[in-house]
Point group: D2
Chain length 249, copies 4
């Protein structure tokens, strides 16, 4: 294991048993990681796992859809990791997934999708970008804001309207941030995860005819996020897709 | 002038001196038109203009961002035009245009953009789609929901993040509706208006080096909307762009 | 019928029983039309049909994939229609459609697709653009170059590689011409025809579960091309899609 | 240095002082590399450099635009590296870059762009895919075909028509190959290099106002290619972009 940074940290919003956990473990090889989730049970096991591997981890309860909750979480982080700057911020929140005929969807379904997706990214980006900018001159890799997207980020399928609205909006905001903060040295990237992720919750899903590796490995996603983070500023990727070899697209 | 329909009407959300007015005048050649705007001063002159040309028009005050306000407006319409079905619904609302460095944007800027753009489309689509579906068997052209988009519907430019979030989300919802309601006979189309529209408010704008026709004629936009409405169901356009010949793209 | 222009003509490359014929009939309501096809049997019946309706039509044999053949065809046109300028040029050629596993495709399959698609557009555009430019100051509508595309213009499906290569290349060249000649007043538009066209050859195809209007009406395509041609220069469409209401997309 | 594979090799078409050289050096850390270029002076120095670092390298003269030349090159490779399979094939050829007003471009400019770009990829893919498929069961990483694209792969700019035609066509073929061969275990990826690469030939270019790191490091490109190659089959990227932090997009 390489030395863990003493000046920077990585923060991951939206951790659970899948991508968030894998990303946390991957970035914990180089940075202390802060895990944000609404409930402690989402991050406690990961914090333990990272510590047991010799890494540093801190779990903080926060609802990224709630501006005040995010502000409070970053106050806690400042107290726990005083003087540290954000080297990498990963926005991996994705609620609001309702598949319904449009005339059965309610305005609150739409609001929930918008609040958790683009509202969450907005709050998280406002909380992390000042520190990411401060990290530019000294961080080992360009400070990075990496955003998890989905098929619905680029395709509005029938009955996915409210979910796609939230995901398209996240992509819009991510693009805009890339164009504003890229020239200042912060790498903003958006990843289109196009397939079902292989996590405990999807164990029983019959995906891609049950073919081996037909679901996306969250560790592979984490490896691609780490690659994005380590790209030098002469060669930033703004967007990439990830999907199983057998996924139709 | 062709005869005005006695069984159907067109409804246009977001009228003022520009696209909304031109669309209203164009559709009023075939249908009674209902104009929705937050304030009577936005529709009164247009209602008069249409009537003076022998058309039928009704102005109703409504804030499309507000679910209850939209419901109330459509109750009014039902009373005024009993038994009529919607042949064409045009969503032309576009507020939330704030160009600011991201760290100066507030959560309420984002909310305003989302509420007026995708929230407005959501409310308007929920209010009109049941009637558009009913109109399918008998309407002279496929019942249509036409949505005004912008450059920011497909591009998240620096400092346009909150506006692009709203516009991307509108496009997502529009695509989803096209895929759900197209097979049921309702034509949902999204138009990317890529340029400055030639309206009183933009008179002084120096656009495209002041070249003649360097701003988009709202009457031309209306003609394209009418073309979309008259496409038979064997040949629907889901998306088109409109821009001045001298616009960079 | 409106008067037929005495100063301009429309030229359509790629006519047969489908889109080309419908476009010819539609544009013949306003212009003399010149029909280009490799073999007289492809245009003779259409020429007769137009003349029987009181229009003017001229058929010329030409292989648009062959630079010399195109040059010779336009010499013939100059002799037959001396002093006339091109008001509308429609490129509707689409050969090279081979669906095969890639390892069974030959280099000559690829060459055939490239030659007929982008090679053909290249020759046709070089032959018509000088006259389209000359027509700018006086033509009733902005002189137009309209290009027929396909699903394969924006999607490289499995086993469609060589066809998609030709179609993507056509779209690339069309975009480039739009950006170069648009500011000079020539309207270059690309149309993505996404579905099976309803022509004699496709009579027996089971498309969209045999649903009524599940194939695209070539007359509807022609109407959209005419709409594109009549757009004023303040409001050009560069690209639109056309598909049956029941088509999956 | 990790051990060099004895069963596989990497082959890079289009090597010179830039991306090709960096990719060769990167892949030579794990595989013997075969370098294809039209002239020995393009690969000789790189072959020496790899050997001096303890790697294995073979240079073969070939014009990828010429089917026979590619066939002959792979016969040579079979003789020199008997029984070895292709673990990674990188198509990095990019000629045909002519920026001219369309009416000054000739048919042979178009042919040159098509032949070198999509014709070259076609020949290279046909030569390597059988071996890539054979490598699937045993190769350390999913056998990969990685294709270098450019801004012109997704944008037809004014006066770039013939170049964009070639690049769009390459992207089309790459997408099609990804969809056909991905499910068979071969990873086909396309990389949009959006900016000027920092190589000897571009030393004097004033790019991005001369800002530091305003040109793309070819070593960074190579690192992203290596990342693509090492993605497991559950998580393939089909397309990513690379650009300097200060590049407008």
């Amino acid at each position: 294991m390489t030395a863990i940074s003493k000046s920077f940290y990585a923060v991951i919003a939206g951790v659970g048993a899948g991508t968030g956990r894998s990303v946390a473990l991957r970035f914990a090889q180089s940075y202390p990681v802060v895990l944000l989730a609404r409930k402690p049970e989402s991050y406690e096991a990961i914090v333990s796992e990272i510590r047991s591997r010799g890494g540093e981890a801190l779990g903080v309860s926060a609802d990224t859809a709630d501006t005040a909750s995010v502000a409070s979480a970053f106050e806690t982080i400042q107290k726990e990791l005083p003087g540290r700057k954000v080297a990498a911020a990963v926005f991996n929140v994705g609620a609001g997934f309702a598949i319904k005929p449009f005339l059965e969807v309610t305005a609150s379904d739409l609001d929930a999708s918008l609040a958790s997706n683009v509202g969450g990214l907005f709050n998280f980006a406002q909380a992390t970008l000042p520190s990411l900018l401060e990290a530019v001159p000294t961080s080992p890799h360009p400070p990075s804001l990496i955003i998890t997207g989905a098929t619905a980020s680029v395709r509005g399928s029938a009955r996915f309207g409210t979910f796609a609205a939230g995901k398209f909006a996240v992509r819009a905001l991510g693009q805009s941030l890339a164009r504003e903060f890229g020239p200042q040295g912060v790498h903003v990237a958006h990843v289109i995860v196009d397939g079902v992720i292989d996590i405990p919750r999807t164990k029983g899903y019959n995906v891609n005819d049950g073919k081996e590796d037909g679901k996306i490995s969250p560790d592979a996603i984490a490896e691609s996020y780490w690659h994005l983070h380590t790209q030098p500023r002469s060669s930033f990727t703004q967007e990439l897709d990830l999907r199983p070899y057998v996924e139709k697209f």
